[in-house]
């Protein structure tokens, strides 16, 4: 059996994967997920104020993608902070996702308000559904928000990037320069679905974020580009369905991955079985490709 554990920017993961932020939004669900083979668990993004999110429909689906515009529903930092206190520490590293809807000072305020009830922070500068302009589309803004987050915690800081940019390498460099320990990506791609008979966009928010198998090549391309741009580790994801996809992300440069839409329709037990099989399959791929540990695979597609 190959060794699946990884050390990543100050985090130790028993398995090189985790849930994508926004999937399984509550702490009781993440606690349940900890019972299964997952390297870490990631919370839904925490905002300062309570938000109900967008009106339904916030979700649309097709065979090869999902489209969502939940719109940062969150009980707010105080409510969530209290719940975090009850649950932290957890059986697996707990990564808390945060985002400011105003300026970088809010980032600092939220992180400090959580009073250390986390193992790492994932700074979400990339939600396509709530901003007039996505922070992660602007290197200067990304820098400001990353610096503010860096100033608020000494624990590992992950910055999650958007693929909706011209040059994701430039944004990754800005995050690295501003103190990020890890780069994560990709967040969903901005998109839309129109119902032909209803003659209108399906989502009430009209636009949403595309996830699922359809976006995997975009994700692989972005991770490849980020890997060449920065020296810090990367958590990759977007459309991962199986161990082959995980290996592909790793060879592009990801030291670990996140999985989201693949859990579509899976009862909890099946998620456990899926993760079990993912581990076995990844070990087999590692044997086939001559990798003894995860880092033997990371970035190998660059050594041409």
């Amino acid at each position: 059996m190959a060794d699946l554990s990884v050390e990543l920017g100050g985090l130790h993961l028993d398995y090189p994967w985790m849930n994508a932020s926004g999937i399984f939004s509550t702490l009781p669900l993440l606690e349940k997920l900890c019972e299964y083979k997952t390297g870490a668990v990631v919370t839904k993004t925490i905002t300062k104020e309570e938000r109900t999110g967008h009106e339904t429909p916030v979700f649309a689906e097709s065979g090869c993608y999902c489209l969502n515009a939940v719109g940062f529903s969150c009980p707010g930092m105080y409510e969530t902070g209290e719940e975090l206190c009850d649950f932290y520490p957890m059986e697996r590293p707990l990564i808390v996702s945060v985002a400011s809807l105003t300026d970088e000072n809010e980032v600092k305020e939220i992180i400090e308000g959580l009073e250390g009830s986390f193992d790492a922070i994932e700074l979400n500068v990339s939600c396509p559904n709530v901003y007039k302009k996505i922070i992660g589309q602007d290197a200067k803004l990304t820098e400001k928000h990353t610096k503010a987050a860096r100033g608020a915690t000494k624990k590992p800081l992950i910055v999650k990037l958007t693929p909706n940019v011209t040059d994701i390498g430039e944004i990754a460099r800005a995050a690295e320069y501003s103190g990020a320990d890890i780069i994560s990506g990709i967040n969903t791609l901005r998109g839309m679905a129109i119902d032909v008979y209803a003659k209108r966009p399906v989502l009430t928010n009209r636009f949403g974020g595309v996830s699922g198998p359809a976006i995997k090549p975009v994700g692989i391309g972005c991770i490849y580009q980020i890997y060449e741009a920065v020296d810090i580790p990367i958590i990759g994801g977007g459309g991962i369905c199986n161990a082959m996809d995980v290996a592909e992300y790793m060879m592009a440069g990801a030291g670990a991955v996140f999985i989201g839409t693949r859990f579509y329709g899976m009862p909890m037990e099946r998620i456990g079985n899926f993760l079990e099989k993912l581990g076995n399959d990844l070990c087999r791929i590692m044997e086939e490709t001559g990798a003894e540990k995860i880092e033997d695979m990371v970035g190998v597609a660059h050594e041409l």
Partner: protein
């Protein structure tokens, strides 16, 4: 799956403020599963399937905001369209079988009769099981699906809050009166009623044989977003049907989450 545009073939006035919308289409489903129903320009809501022979139907009670979902669906006429996706969730079927000799009780409060009428008909037609039905409502004019239950049950007992028909009082009281040892209970209704009914049923059944169909605020309906969490289970995908045993140590009967995810008392 994408939305399917369906035509409303028939609308039935069931009882006070309650209508059944029969689609022009049969969806392979099991009792307890639900559809996400979209009215363009209004909203999308999860609705339990109330029947499926020969065409699938949903039953809605009109409540709340005039611009809300239930008021809007009441303005729909026969021949109009609805948009649906699903069916989703774990229904009652995994809890049926391997228990011959047990009496099956249906305990329905208000609109909770919808999935239970569907289940009773299926049990009767496909398994030859005639359940004992305990049907409750506020008053006689809001009793739902009395005739449907009558056609497939062994016994039917009714309670109303105001005593206008059957026993005066809550349907939970009927469990104490008519319950039998070694039974299986299927319960659906408002959550306080289900919590009380499950407690009363404990006298006659193992918690694994007390089966409940739950409701929570839902967004995606497919297990991804987690909005419908009830303490480590997602109602949309792990449920909506659960055994009372599974619900130990969860928020059942106590707390629910709002659209922001905030936990509040039921």
């Amino acid at each position: 799956m994408n939305y399917r545009r369906v035509c409303i073939a028939e609308i039935r006035e069931e009882c006070r403020e309650t209508k059944t919308f029969v689609l022009d289409y049969h969806i392979a489903s099991e009792p307890g599963q639900f559809l996400m129903v979209w009215i363009p320009g209004v909203s999308e809501n999860p609705i339990s399937i109330s029947g499926s022979e020969p065409c699938t139907s949903i039953t809605v009670r009109r409540v709340g905001d005039k611009n809300g979902f239930s008021h809007s669906i009441f303005r729909i006429k026969e021949g109009d369209n609805l948009w649906i996706r699903g069916p989703y969730g774990r229904g009652f079927i995994p809890f049926i079988g391997k228990d011959s000799g047990k009496d099956y009780f249906m305990v329905a409060g208000g609109c909770g009769a919808a999935p239970l009428a569907y289940l009773s008909e299926m049990l009767y037609m496909e398994h030859g099981i005639e359940p004992i039905v305990l049907l409750g409502a506020g008053s006689e004019d809001s009793l739902l699906f009395r005739q449907r239950f009558e056609k497939c049950c062994a016994e039917l007992y009714i309670s109303t809050d105001d005593g206008s028909r059957g026993e005066k009082g809550l349907v939970t009281g009927l469990i104490k009166k008519h319950g039998k040892g070694n039974s299986k209970f299927f319960i659906c209704g408002p959550e306080e009623m289900m919590a009380a009914a499950a407690e009363n049923a404990m006298e006659f059944a193992d918690p694994a044989d007390i089966i409940l169909s739950l409701e929570r605020y839902m967004k995606c309906g497919t297990g991804l977003c987690g909005s419908c969490d009830i303490g480590g289970y997602r109602v949309c995908t792990d449920g909506p049907v659960f055994s009372y045993k599974e619900l130990e140590k969860t928020d059942f009967g106590k707390m629910r989450r709002t659209s922001s995810g905030k936990r509040i008392p039921i």
